[in-house]
Amino acid sequence: MKKRVLSLLLCGCMAVSLLAGCGSKEAPAADTPAEEGTEAPAENGEDAEASEEDSADGSDMEYVKSKGTLVVGITDFEPMDYKDDSGEWIGFDADMAKAFAESLGVDVEFVEIDWDNKVLELDSKTIDCVWNGMTLTDEVKSAMECSNAYCNNAQIVIVPADKAEQYQDTDSLKDLNFAVEAGSAGEAEVTALGLSCTPVKAQSDALLEVASGTSDAAVIDSLMAAAMVGEGTGYADLTYTIQLNSEEYGVGFRKGSDLAAALNDFFLAGYTDGSIAACAETYNIQAALIDAELVEE
C-alpha cells in the first residue's frame, strides 16, 4: 500500500516537472529502441498508465536483445535465488532464468533489488524482469506482464512450536496479533480474515517478530517456511500450522512486454523435455511444481 502511494507521488512529481520542464514530449521517448512509432508516446506521466502504454508496442524482446543482457531482479531467497559458495547466483529461479536468457541469446545479469520497489525497477528499466518466487496476486498481475504460474505456494501460519497445538483452525487465530510482510499475499489473507496485524518490511522480519515475541504469529510463504522454520534452521523454536490459501508463483515483466509470452513457450518446452522437473529436483521443490498438463491448458 505504502509503495503505491509513493509511486503515485513520484509520478505526480515527475508529471509536473515534465510539463513544466521539457515541453517537447517526443524527444526523450525516441531514445528507446523499443519504440518503432506504432503509437505516439505522447501522453507521458499522467499516472501509472503511461508506462503501460509505452511498452505496449511489444518490442521489449528487441530491447533486451539489442542490449544483449537480461537483467533479472531478485532477492536472496533460498531455494529460488541464492548464492553458492563461489558467490554465483543459483536456485531454481536463477537456473531457469539463466536457461531462458540463453534461449534468447543474451547474457543474464542478476541484480538484488528492494522488493518494495520491484515495479519501479521494471518501469524505469533498471531491471527487465522479476524472477524471485513472486506470488501472482491481483496487484502484481495488474502492474506487470506475468508469465504463467510455474510453482505452487501457500500462505501459512507460523507460531512458536510450544503453542502450535492451540492454533490448528482459523477460529483459534482471532486473538492473535500477526506480523506480515507489507503488501504481501499474507497480509491480504490476514486482513480478509479480519485479524489484527502489524505490517513489517520483509517476511523474515515477520519471523523475527514471532521469535522475539513482539508478535504472536506470522503468515509467510510455505516455500520459505520450509526452508527457514523448524528443526535445523535459524528458527528451530517456531513451527507452521494452518494453510490459509493456495497460490502460485510467476515471473513478472514490464507491462505489455512480449517476453512473458516467450517465457511461457520456453516453460512449455521445458516441461516437455523434462528439464524443468530435473531442475526442480536439484533444489528439492518438485512437489510444488505445477503439473505440465495444467500449464498446457
Binding site: L6, L10, C11, C13, M14, A15, L18, P28, A29, D31, T32, E35, P41, N44, G45, S51, D54, T69, V71, T75, D76, F77, E78, Y82, K83, E109, V111, E112, I113, D114, N117, L120, E121, D123, S124, K125, T126, A202, Q203, S204, D205, L207, L208, A211, M224, A227, M228, T233, G234, Y235
Partner: protein
C-alpha cells in the same frame, strides 16, 4: 555458541564486502561534495541576483527534501519518465546514482557551512589584502581560505560523521552496503537465516569508522590551532 563461531567468519566476510561499499560511497561523496559545495557557496553569495536566487532555491530543495526521496528520484526518474535508463547496469549503476545523489545533497549542506565560514571572516582581512595590491583570488586562497577552514572544521566534522551513517540510506535503491549485508542474514543468505546479530553487529563498524574520522578531524583542528 558453536553455531555462532561457525557463522561469525561468514558474516564478517559478508559485512566487510558491504562495508567496502559504504566506505567507497563515503569517500566519493566527500571528494565530490567538498569542492562542489564551495562552488555552490560562491553561487549563493554571487552579486549577480539571478544566480544567487537560483542556487538558493536549489539548496532549499535539496536540503528541504529527504535524501531517501532524492535517491529514488535520481535513480528511477530517467528510465521511468524520460524513457532513457541512464545509469547502466548492475551494481555500478546503483553506486553511481547513489554517489550523484549524495554528492549533491552534501554539497548543499557544505555550501551553507562554507558561506557562514566565509562571511564570518572580518572584512578587514580582505581590505588589507586589497591595499597590498593582491587580487581577489590571491586574497581568497592566501588569506581567507585557511581562516575559513579553521572556522568550519567543527561544523564540518558534524556533517562528515552524519555522512558515515547516512550512506546506509542508499540501500533504498538496493546499493548493497553494510546494513544490506547485515539484513541478508535475517532473510537468509549463505545458509544463515533468521539471525539478527549480524545487523546489530554492523553498528560496530560504524562506531569504529566514525571514531577514526573523529580522531582525524580532531587532529586537523589541533593542527590549525597555531593561529587564532
Amino acid at each position: 555458541m558453536e553455531q555462532f563461531l561457525e557463522q561469525f567468519p561468514i558474516v564478517v566476510q559478508s559485512l566487510n564486502i558491504g562495508f567496502l561499499q559504504t566506505l567507497k560511497l563515503f569517500f566519493v561523496t566527500l571528494l565530490g561534495a567538498v569542492p562542489l559545495g564551495l562552488i555552490i557557496a560562491f553561487g549563493s553569495m554571487s552579486r549577480f541576483r539571478p544566480l544567487s536566487y537560483f542556487t538558493k532555491i536549489i539548496v532549499w530543495i535539496i536540503r528541504g527534501t529527504p535524501l531517501m526521496i532524492q535517491l529514488l528520484i535520481i535513480f528511477y526518474f530517467p528510465g521511468l519518465v524520460l524513457k532513457k535508463q541512464i545509469w547502466g547496469g548492475g551494481e555500478v549503476a546503483r553506486f553511481t546514482a547513489s554517489a550523484v545523489a549524495f554528492i549533491f545533497n552534501y554539497a548543499c549542506y557544505f555550501s551553507e557551512i562554507y558561506r557562514g565560514g566565509i562571511q564570518s571572516i572580518p572584512v578587514g582581512q580582505e581590505e588589507a589584502g586589497l591595499v597590498l595590491g593582491m587580487t581577489k583570488s590571491q586574497i581568497f586562497f592566501k588569506v581567507t581560505l585557511l581562516q575559513m577552514i579553521k572556522r568550519i572544521v567543527p561544523p564540518m566534522s558534524n556533517e562528515v560523521i552524519t555522512l558515515v551513517k547516512d550512506t546506509s540510506l542508499a540501500r533504498i535503491i538496493a546499493l548493497q552496503e553494510i546494513i544490506w549485508a547485515g539484513q541478508a542474514f535475517l532473510k537468509g543468505s549463505q545458509g544463515i537465516s533468521g539471525q539478527i546479530w549480524p545487523l546489530f553487529f554492523t553498528a560496530v563498524y560504524y562506531l569504529i569508522f566514525s571514531g577514526v574520522v573523529t580522531l582525524l578531524l580532531g587532529r586537523l583542528e589541533k593542527k590549525l590551532d597555531y593561529f587564532r
